[in-house]
């Protein structure tokens, strides 16, 4: 078996990201679309942590900048989930639907 390189993690991350893209483009339930966005953010985090590991191997054990970035990504994901789900609740109260095809109030 070949040793695991950052390229392996990049392929895993790309595949997970694509699954998230497919979820956003194909599903109609807005809650599932939000979960697909979380999958994509996780794919980015895997990439950041894999390259932080590579950096530690090459430069020195105290180079964990990729992990610090991943912490910030998790912060933004938490904020996005809270506000986004609040918007979903407010919209559901008005229109009684979570189907994005029926969310066309601002469509001209």
């Amino acid at each position: 078996m070949t040793p695991i390189t950052p390229a392996h993690y990049m392929v895993l991350s790309a595949a997970l990201f694509i699954i998230g893209v497919i979820g956003v483009l194909v599903r109609r339930n807005i809650i599932v679309i939000f979960m697909s966005i979380e999958l994509m953010l996780n794919a980015v985090n895997i990439n950041l942590v894999a390259f932080a590991r590579d950096w530690q191997h090459r430069v020195g054990p105290d180079h964990v900048i990729g992990q610090v970035f991943a912490v910030f990504v998790i912060v933004v994901a938490a904020a996005e989930a809270a506000v986004g789900l609040g918007i979903i609740l407010a919209f559901y109260r008005n229109k009684e639907t979570v189907n994005i095809d029926e969310m066309n109030l601002m469509k001209w």
């Binding site: 694509i18 979380e38 530690q56 559901y92």
Partner: protein, 171 residues
Amino acid sequence: MAEALAFYSLAAFILGFAVLVITARNTVHSVLFLVVNFLFVAALYVVLHAEFLAVIQVLVYAGGIVVLYLFVVMLVNLKRPPEAHQDPRRRSRLGLVVSGIVLAQLVAIAAFSATQAAGGPAPVEASVPVAGNVELVGWQLYTTYLVPFEVASMLLLAAMIGAIILAKREL
């Protein structure tokens, strides 16, 4: 060898549960598959020696965000599933094709960068007086990235207030 075994099995579980998340008919099932997916990603962080991030992943994602999703799924009690309403102009197959093109691009980039010679900066002496993953991440957060750290706390405060305002029935 052990890392390869861990990587391939964890990758299979991560991708499998991600596919289940976006294909499950029942939204509650989707959320539960998402929890398992996040837990396997946390295990992958342990393989990558990012123990602090693994703990944060379990606490914030699997413990916090997913519970928020479950609450919303159960608050929006759906009488009819959203997939029942079909928009005739919606092109799901086009979406799949576009996703496939993007996947091919990403894999091509990964394959190309794997063939390049490993350059990178020269090794330097350790400049931080701590060891261990949690200490290292904390040191970086509170020295080099102190300002972004404080901005992130402001973002969380704004998101908290925004979520309360949005979810309130009347102001």
